[in-house]
Amino acid sequence: MELFVQTIINGLILGAGYALVAVGLTVIFGTLHIVNFAHGAFFALGAYAVLVLGYADIPYLLAVPLAVIAVAIIGVALEWTVVRRALYDRGEHGSIIITFALSQAIVAAIILIVGPDPLPVSSPFGQTAISVFGFFLSAQRLFIALTSIVVLAGFAWWLRHSVKGQQILAVSQNPRGALYSGINVPLIRSLSFLLGISAAGLAGALIAPLISAFPTMGNANVIVAFTVVILGGLGSIGGAMLGALVIGLANALFETFVSVSWTPALGWILVILVLLFWPQGLMGRAQINRH
């Protein structure tokens, strides 16, 4: 019983971390109508930014926001050079290939510059665990969950109550209508891309102390994010948050009670099952992506 509760707690905390990656992915899908296969690469970039800043003796808590800014800058540069030219209004087919190639390129660049081996990232929380009512929580995981909740709550509030946030929602609902009402749609798309990959970068920076930084670290997480986002319904932000908790729980339970070495396959199998039997997801709109 105790193991079960402990696993549930771990799963929920894991889910809070997934939510960050997934919300970024879903925001980009909502406004740009592309599935960003390069999301995992930006996740890895966030982790490596923290690593490099750590080498420069910058404390972890300061390095995290700096890493997000660094990822955002790289993201803006790529948005400006590649994404904008190639993706918008080009249809899905091209965007899948381009974002996938972009992710391969970023991972290869990381390997060439930093090297292929996992590198540990230090954090003030280290390996400490906090005991709450007899259950152990890793301090770093708790930090991830809290940061993620604060950032996502802030983001949700910002979407609802700021002009730019409202514009993002408008573009994701109906880009043409948004354009006709005088919204600068290209700007909003760039902004959404920026926000989405910054969230991925933040998630990478937060998770790095737990799993070390390695070039393909984004793959596993972006796969989980795909599951989450598809489960929640592509483009739905609330759905992504809910989906993240569900998947976090599923992963933790599977890892504890079934098998660790088969866990990577679980994410894929869940994606496939959800897409096959529930393609609109928990909170998504009905899709025309079936026939």
Binding site: I97, A101, Q104, I269, R290
Partner: protein, 335 residues
């Protein structure tokens, strides 16, 4: 992908002759190239590489059957390639069966799997299809890593006899001839398929799924047929790569392989039947002479994919056409 206008080859033709001038030309040209390389080249390295290029081109053809055929991005096509490599390896090492039987078993198994997978997943389109396809290849790779029969992360190796009938594929020249002839046969077969009713149906589906459906084409069934046709070709390519690689590891199913094939297809252009073959030749030969580190290679090729997609989504074929159009226009405007 850009919507290419209906080309002259897909004009209405009621008859579908098995032997056309086009396919005859293909045979003559193909045979000439095969003989030229087979007789003219003595280097073991180049012959082996040419053999591998042919099997890789076969895989690119299979990818293009989906990409250029029904307009989906089959990120998980590497799974069929991997199955094509694993089944003969398993049958040879664990059951002592000959290589040829393994090749056919792999092709049959991948076709059956394609029926099941296609029946489940081809109702999805666009990014959804790509994600599921990628996902399945991920599951396949995890399975290959965890099972005992696949040799786990170490893979399978030490094959005693790699020959088709009396032809020993461990000999570089024989390997090249065998793969090249199989590639030529596959091209002929696909050329026939393209001009057949099925090929026309695919083209109309690629251009507009809904219009095709309204014309009475069973879109789902034709898409399924395309996948079931492409899977054994990918499996055959995987099996023919064994003499080159000499080892089958879970990496054989890595999605990087699909990315490589996508690049080859994109270089050559998706609209042409032999585009992927031209792309594969460029793709496998050029890096050998640039002596690139594996990661530099991935970086350069990924950037190349992005460049092609941004500048010329139709590949070399489109570039040539654009150049031709410009040339005609400029020469025509002169007095």
């Amino acid at each position: 992908m850009t919507q290419t206008p209906i080309s002259s080859t897909s004009a209405v033709q009621d008859r579908n002759p098995v032997v056309t001038w086009g396919s005859l030309g293909l045979v003559v040209l193909g045979a000439a190239i095969i003989l030229a390389v087979g007789l003219g080249v003595d280097s073991v390295f180049i012959l082996t590489l040419a053999g591998y290029t042919c099997s890789f081109a076969l895989f690119a053809l299979s990818v293009n059957l989906i990409l250029g055929g029904i307009g989906e991005v089959p990120l998980g096509q590497c799974m069929f390639f991997g199955i094509g490599a694993y089944v003969p390896a398993i049958l040879m090492n664990h059951a002592g069966m000959p290589y040829e039987v393994g090749i056919f078993a792999g092709m049959a198994f991948s076709a059956v799997l394609a029926v099941v997978i296609g029946w489940l997943t081809l109702r999805l389109t666009g990014a959804y299809f790509s994600i599921v396809s990628w996902g399945l290849s991920g599951v396949a790779m995890v399975t290959a890593l965890n099972l005992e029969i696949t040799g786990g992360p170490l893979g399978l190796f030490g094959f005693s006899r790699l020959s088709i009938g009396p032809f020993d594929l461990n000999k570089p020249r024989v390997y090249f001839y065998a793969t090249a002839i199989i590639l030529l046969l596959a091209l002929l077969f696909l050329a026939h398929v393209r001009t057949a009713r099925f090929g026309r149906a695919l083209e109309s589906i690629r251009q507009s799924r809904h219009l095709a459906q309204s014309l009475g084409i069973n879109v789902f069934r034709e898409r399924l047929k395309a996948l079931v046709l492409s899977a054994p070709i990918a499996a055959l390519a995987g099996a023919l790569c064994i003499p080159y690689m000499q080892i089958v590891t879970p990496d054989v199913m890595s999605v990087i392989r699909t990315v490589d094939a996508l690049l080859a297809v994109l270089i050559g252009g998706t609209a042409l039947l032999y585009g992927p073959v031209v792309g594969s030749v460029i793709f496998t030969i050029v890096p050998q002479f640039m002596d690139l580190d594996a990661n530099v290679r991935v970086l350069v090729f990924s950037l190349l994919i992005i460049f092609i997609m941004v500048v010329a989504p139709g590949g070399l074929h489109q570039l040539m056409k654009a150049l031709q159009a410009r040339f005609v226009r400029s020469s025509g405007s002169k007095p």
